[in-house]
Structures are given as structure tokens and as C-alpha cells.
């Protein structure tokens, strides 16, 4: 009885082994001759909490691929069309890994793009590295993704710490330009991994810039009252207040700052809650003159930005966000690499991606120059600072820095003018 089962088990294992070997060894269609389509795998959170973000990423990719295919596909592959295969990660790392495995072994994709979450990207890229298949990350920003010595991982997004770096750059730039000496900084951040990471980044770059941190204030998200935190900041009278918050805390802090008339030289947010549309509804006029950092804004002064966003709006009924722009531009970066690779061989595609140097075309909407360093990290991920300003009586995110990307005719309001007359 038991022995019978045992032999069955062995048989099962043997079969599995053979299947795995075959799946691993059977070469992909690497001949350049009769290529009809290029399969690209996409791992996105299409269900679960981040589903809306997965959806907008999927839509942006589809729009780009439609355009590419309509324009004649990949010419060096005899006009092969790109075929997108979407896989749902549910925002769960284990699912992401399983899907990466499936896309490579079953679907035989030429390369993979995705994921929205850094937590999914980290293990999923390991799978691709093992199979030696290129993995292109448009969005996830956790520093370590391109710091593991992987050869098959490429990232278009900025590193998280670069946001903190550019916030500090911005502070120094403004202080010089407007003649407002800045010495002291207060850090207010939510106390989980995201906020703590921001605090580490700030400490590093503020230290290098010779600015003094007078207050480090982590707080638990979903606090019933953030007044104590605000009162503490008020006591310290810092020149700059740097914030890293989810949307509920961002609005609660903003309103409490207003209540107690805290007046630094500037309030600067780190995306997240400050970039959430709900923030404007809940903070109202109190958020006027706050700054926030991101990689793209609808009003950013870059070629193609308006046109593509407009087209997207026509097609899907709402505007793009930074994630959608990165997803859209990624497809064009991949197309360019496939064009130069002229084959479906993953090695050739990897080499072509590494040699990317795009300085013209629709990718301008994200960055004037796209190139990757030896770790696969996009070299100059462009970050912009926007300021919340009233445009025709309505609060908007107005891009103000760097100057070349700023909304025409707008300058930053620096220092913070205070709360009177609101």
C-alpha cells in the first residue's frame, strides 16, 4: 500500500523534474527569421488594495503598445508586433514570483516589465535573474532593487533616496536664490518602513549639505491627534519642515499647522499622501504654498507631455499620473532596445537595454536623456518640485522647480508667506 504510493511519488517527482528541465532548456524562438510577435510579460497588481494603480499602469502600457504596433511594430524583426501578457500579482510577493516563473517558462516571454510595489519587484527580479531574462522596472523605487549586482534588471524610476537628495538640493537652491539663509530642519514622518527610509535619506543628504536637524519626529499613522507633534515643531522654530505622510496624516498635519500658525520658511512633502487627490479635498486652502516632490506633473514643461496626457484622457476618461507616465515611456524604451537588438535572444535584448541612449522622441515627456548605468539604474531620473497654488480659485499642483521644467509664467512662492488672510 505504502510502497505503491512511494513509487507513484517517485514517478511524480521524476515527471516534474523532466518537465522543469525541458521547460528550462527548450530554447526560446531565438532565430531572427520568422518572428511574428514579441511577447512581453507584465506583472501588475490588478486586484487587491493597489488595483487602481495597477489598472492605470496597464492602460498606459496598452496605449503605448497600440501606438508602436500601429506604427509598424519592431522593424528590425520584420515588423513583428508586440504582444502584452498581463499577470496579476495581487500586490503579493509570492504571487509575483509565481507569475514571473510562469511568464518565463510557460509563456516564453522575451522580457518582463512591472511591478508596482517594490516588495513584489525584489523577489520577482530574482527569478528573472536566475533565468537570465531581462526585467524592466518602470515604477518601484526601493533603492536596493538596482543595488544587488544583478545584470538583468533595469529601472526607469528614481531611487527613493534620490527624492530626499533632491529635496535638499531644492532647499539649498531656493535659499541661495531668494537670500533666505536656511540652517535648521525638522523631520516629521510616519513611523513605518517608508517613513523611516525617508528619515535615513534626509539625514544623509542634510548632513552632507551642512544643515542641522533640530527635530526627528516619527508618529504612528492613524493617530487620534497630531497636535502634540505640531506643538513640538512650533517650539523648535525650524527653517524647513520635511514631511513624509499618508493621506489622512498629511491632511491632519496640514490643518493642525494652520490651527497653530506654524510658520517655517517652507513645508516640503514627499509624495505619498501629499500627492493623493483626496488631500486637496480634506486640507482645503490650508495646503496653499506647500511643496511636494514627484517625477512628473500634468503641467510639466516637457515635450510631448501635454499631448500624450490629453490622448490618455480622451481614451480612458482621466489624466495620467507619474506611474502611468513611467509605464508608458518604458514601452518606448523597450521598443528602442528591441529595435537595436534585432533578435529575441534575451542576451541581445539585455545588451541593447544596457546601451540605451534616448535623447529624442516621446520619451522626452519623462526625461530629456534616458540611459542606464552598469547596475541598470536610470542615470538621471528627473525629479520635479511642485507647489500647491490657487489657479483661478482652484488648488492645483504647479511645477516650479527645476526652472526648465516649471509651468511657464510661474515662480515658487518662497519663503512661506504665513497663514494670514486665508
Amino acid at each position: 500500500m505504502f510502497a505503491k504510493h512511494k513509487s507513484k511519488l517517485y514517478l511524480l517527482f521524476a515527471t516534474l523534474l523532466v518537465v522543469m528541465l525541458v521547460a528550462g532548456c527548450v530554447g526560446r524562438d531565438t532565430s531572427t527569421g520568422q518572428v511574428k510577435e514579441v511577447k512581453i510579460g507584465n506583472i501588475l497588481p490588478l486586484s487587491g488594495a493597489a488595483a487602481p494603480l495597477g489598472k492605470i499602469g496597464k492602460e498606459a502600457r496598452e496605449m503605448a503598445v497600440e501606438e508602436i504596433n500601429a506604427a509598424g511594430g519592431i522593424k528590425s524583426l520584420g515588423g513583428a508586433k508586440i504582444k502584452m501578457i498581463f499577470a496579476d500579482s495581487k500586490g503579493d510577493p509570492a504571487t509575483g514570483v509565481a507569475e514571473a516563473e510562469r511568464l518565463i517558462t510557460q509563456e516564453k516571454v522575451a522580457l518582463i516589465t512591472g511591478t508596482y510595489q517594490s516588495g513584489v519587484a525584489l523577489p520577482a527580479t530574482e527569478v528573472a535573474e536566475r533565468y537570465k531574462v531581462p526585467f524592466f522596472c518602470p515604477v518601484p523605487s526601493e533603492d536596493v532593487i538596482t543595488e544587488r549586482g544583478f545584470k538583468y534588471v533595469f529601472r526607469l524610476a528614481e531611487k527613493t533616496s534620490w527624492r530626499n537628495r533632491d529635496q535638499v538640493k531644492f532647499i539649498q537652491d531656493m535659499a541661495n536664490k531668494y537670500g533666505t539663509p536656511v540652517k535648521t530642519v525638522a523631520l516629521i514622518y510616519e513611523d513605518t518602513a517608508w517613513g523611516q527610509g525617508a528619515a535615513r535619506g534626509w539625514e544623509k543628504y542634510l548632513g552632507e549639505a551642512g544643515l542641522q536637524i533640530v527635530l526627528k519626529e516619527p508618529y504612528p499613522r492613524n493617530s487620534s491627534d497630531l497636535t502634540p507633534v505640531v506643538l513640538k515643531v512650533k517650539q523648535k522654530k525650524p527653517d524647513i519642515i520635511l514631511l513624509c505622510s499618508y493621506v489622512s496624516d498629511a491632511a491632519l498635519l496640514t490643518n493642525t499647522f494652520a490651527e497653530h500658525k506654524v510658520k517655517p520658511v517652507a513645508f516640503i512633502g514627499t509624495s505619498g499622501g501629499f500627492a493623493d487627490p483626496v488631500y486637496f479635498d480634506t486640507a482645503g486652502d490650508n495646503c496653499e504654498y506647500f511643496f511636494d516632490i514627484s517625477t512628473w506633473e500634468p503641467d510639466v514643461n516637457r515635450p510631448f507631455s501635454k499631448e500624450v496626457n490629453e490622448k490618455f484622457k480622451q481614451k480612458y476618461g482621466y489624466g495620467m499620473n507619474a506611474e502611468a507616465v513611467k509605464a508608458y515611456v518604458s514601452m518606448y524604451v523597450i521598443k528602442d532596445a528591441l529595435e537595436r537588438a534585432g533578435s529575441l535572444d534575451p542576451e541581445a535584448i539585455r545588451k541593447a537595454l544596457a546601451e540605451t541612449h534616448l535623447t529624442s522622441g516621446v520619451t522626452q515627456m519623462y526625461a530629456s536623456e534616458i540611459a542606464f548605468d552598469e547596475t541598470g539604474q536610470m542615470v538621471n531620473a528627473p525629479l520635479v518640485i511642485s507647489q500647491f497654488r490657487k489657479v483661478n480659485g482652484k488648488m492645483e499642483r504647479v511645477t516650479v522647480w527645476p526652472e526648465k521644467d516649471a509651468r511657464p509664467g510661474w515662480k515658487p512662492e518662497w519663503p512661506f508667506p504665513g497663514w494670514e488672510g486665508r
Binding site: K232, V247, N255
Partner: protein, 293 residues
């Protein structure tokens, strides 16, 4: 000045915590039920109050006349048709736990129902006094918090009078002290229970109304406050009316003042340690005795 501002803020916030704890302590004192759905009722009141303000332009403070009766009825019916059968079924059980599990389940159900109907957005009534402050020589006092504090004092006072001076109040206290004897004296215990649960729920509603001008409502907002309310009930003494207010003020002050000397993450830990210390050394709380009622 910062410290004084922190003390004032602590007292004002403490009042709000106390008001929420008041409903909880009443339900416990009379029915000996730990009501896990209390936070969910607070959330329901906040969201209703917000929509009344948003759609019909009713000031949250005026919505008292609508929301308090609605929540009273909600509480009354909850006790009458959900909790009572469970209590009856567990009449002969030594350590009944059914009601506790029921309210916990109820809270999950209410939360998800509200999530389905109203969505997960953060809502806040931006009234004329939202974000308004009174400035006295460098101190800033938040106006909506001040109103909430005054309301707490009035509500606590009225409630105390009701328990001590009215026939129904006395019947409630009698029921809380000894259910069996109260029954023999001709008190309609199930009815007293329903009314008590209704009043407790209405008090959660009142807290919600005073929160909505300066705090966000969303389906899980109850969880932000309910843990504090439980701690306060233990600190003040289970079933003690003045204890709820005193415990609330204590927690509010500790949170606000301690945060000036340590991070907000640490103050949360401090509050929990205080709670544990009380459980160890004075389990009956500040004002608690089994025969408070």
C-alpha cells in the same frame, strides 16, 4: 508657552476621549457587556453627520437632533434583537462570552457595510469653525476642540443627574448592581438594558458629531479611538461615570504632554504601560468599585 499649549490641548482631547468612554462604561456598568461595536457606532455617527452637512448643509452641531435619536434607536434595536437572544441563551453560563463575540462581529459587519455604501474616502466637515483658533498671548486653543470639551462636561453632568435623580436612572443603577433583585422589585430588566444600550450608543454618536469638524471619518475610524476608550474605562473604573471623564483627561494629558519630551510613538507605548500598571496594581481603576451603581 509650548508646554501650556500642550496641557490645554491634552485636556480638550481628553474630554473627547472621556465622552466616548462614557457610553462604553455605561453599557458595561449596567449590562456587564464589553461592547466592541462602540467604535463602529462612533464611525456611523461621523459619516452620517458628514453627509448631512455635505448634502443638506446642516451644521454638524445641529445634526445632534437627528443623529442622537437615530443612534439611540440603533442601539436600542441592536440590544433588543441581537444581544438579548444571546444573553438569554447564555443565562446559565458562568462566564458568558457570546455578547462580546457578537459585538465584535457586529463591528466588522457595520464597518464593511459602511465601506460598501459610502466608500473608503476620508471625510471631514469643513465648517466655519473648523481650524479656527483662539489666540491668547502666544497660546493657541482650537475652537472645535473647545466646543467638544464643553459639550463633554455638559453631557457628563446631565447624565450623572439622570442616573441619580430620575426613576429610570435609579432603575438602571439597580439593574447594574443586582439583576436578580431588580427583577424581583418589578423592574423590567430587558427594557432597561435596551434603553441603556441605546443611551450608550447615542453617547458614541455625540462624540462623533463633535469630532467631525476636525477629524476625518472613514469606515475604520472607530479603531483609532476605541482602544483609548477601553483603556480609559479601565483607568477610571469599570462602570464609573466620573471615572470616564477623569480617565479621559488623564490619557489626553499624558499623550499631549509626554509627546513634548519623547516621540509620539513612545507616548503610545507609555499609555499602554500605564494601562498595564493599573491592571496590575489597581484593577478597579481610579473610581471603580463593584457597587458604584
Amino acid at each position: 508657552m509650548g508646554l501650556l499649549s500642550a496641557i490645554i490641548n491634552g485636556i480638550l482631547m481628553g474630554g473627547i476621549y472621556g465622552l466616548l468612554a462614557l457610553g462604553l462604561t455605561l453599557i458595561f456598568g449596567i449590562m456587564k457587556i464589553i461592547n466592541f461595536a462602540h467604535g463602529a457606532f462612533l464611525m456611523v455617527a461621523m459619516i452620517f453627520s458628514y453627509w448631512l452637512w455635505k448634502i443638506m448643509g446642516i451644521d454638524p452641531y445641529l445634526s445632534v437632533v437627528i443623529i442622537i435619536p437615530v443612534l439611540f434607536v440603533l442601539g436600542y434595536l441592536t440590544q433588543r434583537y441581537l444581544i438579548k437572544p444571546v444573553l438569554d441563551a447564555e443565562k446559565d453560563v458562568r462566564e458568558p462570552i457570546g455578547a462580546l463575540l457578537l459585538t465584535a462581529g457586529l463591528s466588522v459587519a457595520i464597518e464593511n457595510f459602511m465601506l460598501m455604501v459610502f466608500g473608503a474616502d476620508y471625510l471631514m466637515a469643513k465648517t466655519t469653525y473648523s481650524g479656527a483658533s483662539i489666540y491668547v498671548s502666544g497660546l493657541s486653543i482650537s475652537v472645535p476642540r473647545l466646543y467638544a470639551f464643553v459639550a463633554t462636561l455638559i453631557a457628563t453632568f446631565l447624565f450623572y443627574q439622570f442616573l441619580n435623580k430620575t426613576e429610570l436612572g435609579r432603575a438602571m443603577r439597580a439593574t447594574g448592581q443586582d439583576r436578580g433583585v431588580a427583577l424581583l422589585m418589578g423592574i423590567d430588566v430587558p427594557k432597561v438594558y435596551s434603553i441603556a444600550f441605546g443611551i450608550g450608543t447615542a453617547l458614541a454618536g455625540l462624540t462623533g458629531i463633535f469630532l467631525i469638524p476636525f477629524y476625518y471619518a472613514h469606515p475604520s475610524v472607530g479603531e483609532v479611538f476605541i482602544t483609548k476608550a477601553f483603556i480609559i474605562v479601565v483607568l477610571g473604573g469599570l462602570g464609573s461615570v466620573p471615572g470616564a471623564l477623569a480617565g479621559g483627561l488623564l490619557i489626553g494629558l499624558v499623550e499631549s504632554v509626554a509627546a513634548q519630551y519623547m516621540t509620539a510613538t513612545w507616548t503610545a507605548i507609555l499609555v499602554y504601560f500605564a494601562f498595564l500598571a493599573f491592571l496590575l496594581f489597581r484593577p478597579s481603576g481610579l473610581f471603580g468599585s463593584r457597587y458604584e451603581w
